[in-house]
C-alpha cells in the first residue's frame, strides 16, 4: 500500500509540532539558517550541496558516483517531499554523511523551509 501522500507544508507542520513539544523555547524555523546549513560542510568532507548542488531548483551530481540527482526544491520537482518515510530515510542517511549524526527537528525544519522558499 502506498504511503499517504503529503506535501512539504504537511511535513513542516509536523516538524513544528515536534519541535514545540521538544522545547518550549522553540522560535520557529528559519529558511536562511536552513540555506546556510545546506551549503556549508559541517566538519566533514561533504555539505548537502556537494551532491544536491548549490541551487536546489537545478539538478545536482552525486559527489562520488557522478550520477545526476534530480532537483530537491518542490518548485522544480513536485515529487519531492511527498512521502514522509522517504524524507525521514534520506534525512537520516544524509545527515549521517554530512554531520556524522542525525539532524535535529530544528535542522530538518530549517532546511525544508529553505527548500520550499526557493522558487
Amino acid at each position: 500500500m502506498p504511503a499517504q501522500a503529503v506535501v512539504a507544508s504537511d511535513l513542516l507542520r509536523g516538524y513544528e509540532t515536534a519541535a514545540r513539544a521538544q522545547s518550549p523555547a522553540f522560535q520557529g524555523f528559519s529558511a536562511d539558517r536552513g540555506g546556510r546549513l545546506f551549503r556549508t560542510p559541517q566538519g566533514g568532507e561533504w555539505s548537502c550541496a556537494s551532491c544536491h548542488g548549490e541551487t536546489p531548483t537545478g539538478p545536482g551530481r552525486h559527489a562520488k558516483t557522478a550520477k545526476v540527482i534530480q532537483p530537491l526544491a518542490p518548485a522544480a520537482n513536485p515529487q519531492r517531499f511527498t512521502d514522509a518515510a522517504q524524507v525521514e530515510k534520506w534525512f537520516r542517511r544524509n545527515c549521517g554523511d554530512v554531520l556524522r549524526r542525525e539532524c535535529t527537528v530544528q535542522e530538518k525544519g530549517d532546511i525544508l523551509s529553505w527548500l520550499v522558499s526557493v522558487k
Binding site: 562520488k64 558516483t65 537520516r92 542517511r93
Partner: protein, 166 residues
C-alpha cells in the same frame, strides 16, 4: 551445390551470430522495483549478474558503510533486495570474486567491499576508455554507467546504446 552467393549468405549468417552473442551478454533482464528505486538513487542500479551471491551478501550486510556513504534501509526492504540480487547473481569468472577478509592477526579492519569495476571482465570491457574520459565532469566515475551506456537504466549495455562523450 555451394555457389558463391550461398557462401556469402552463410558467411553473413555466421557473422551476425558472432556479432549478436556479445551484445546479448550485455543485456540484463532481471528487474525489481525496490532494487531499481533503492539501489538506483545514487548510482545506476547495477545488474545483479555483475557480482557473485557471496559478494552481494557482503554488500547488503554493510549498507550503513556503503563505499563511503550511509545507504542503510529498513530490514524488510534490505532482505527483499538481497534475495533478488542473490537469485540473479553472476557466476565466478565474469562477476568480481568476493573480497577476501584480512587474515592479519588482531586486524579489526572490515574487509573491503567487492567492486564490480575490479573484475577482470569489467577491466577488459573498459580497457579502451581513456582516463581523461572518466575524469570528465559529465562522466566523473566508473559507477556512472549512464554517462556512456545511454540505456543502462533498462539493463541494456549493448554497443548499440553506447555513446562515449567526446
Amino acid at each position: 551445390m555451394t555457389g558463391p552467393l550461398t557462401r556469402i549468405l552463410m558467411a553473413l549468417a555466421l557473422a551476425s551470430v558472432s556479432l549478436q552473442a556479445p551484445a546479448d551478454s550485455r543485456r540484463f533482464a532481471a528487474d525489481d522495483p525496490r532494487w531499481r528505486a533503492e539501489c538506483g538513487s545514487c548510482h545506476t542500479a547495477f545488474p545483479p549478474a555483475l557480482l557473485t551471491a557471496p559478494a552481494w551478501r557482503q554488500v547488503m550486510g554493510a549498507l550503513d558503510r556503503h563505499y563511503g556513504a550511509d545507504a542503510s534501509i529498513d530490514a524488510k526492504t534490505a532482505a527483499e533486495i538481497g534475495a533478488f540480487l542473490e537469485r540473479n547473481a553472476g557466476e565466478r569468472g565474469r562477476a568480481a570474486p568476493p573480497a577476501v577478509a584480512s587474515t592479519r592477526a588482531g586486524a579489526a579492519i572490515a574487509p573491503p567491499l567487492p567492486r564490480i569495476a575490479d573484475s577482470a571482465w569489467f577491466a577488459k570491457e573498459h580497457r579502451k576508455v581513456p582516463a581523461s574520459t572518466i575524469a570528465r565532469p559529465d562522466v566523473g566515475s566508473l559507477a556512472n554507467c549512464a554517462a556512456c551506456h545511454t540505456a543502462a537504466d533498462r539493463g541494456d549495455f549493448s554497443e548499440r546504446a553506447l555513446r562515449v562523450p567526446r
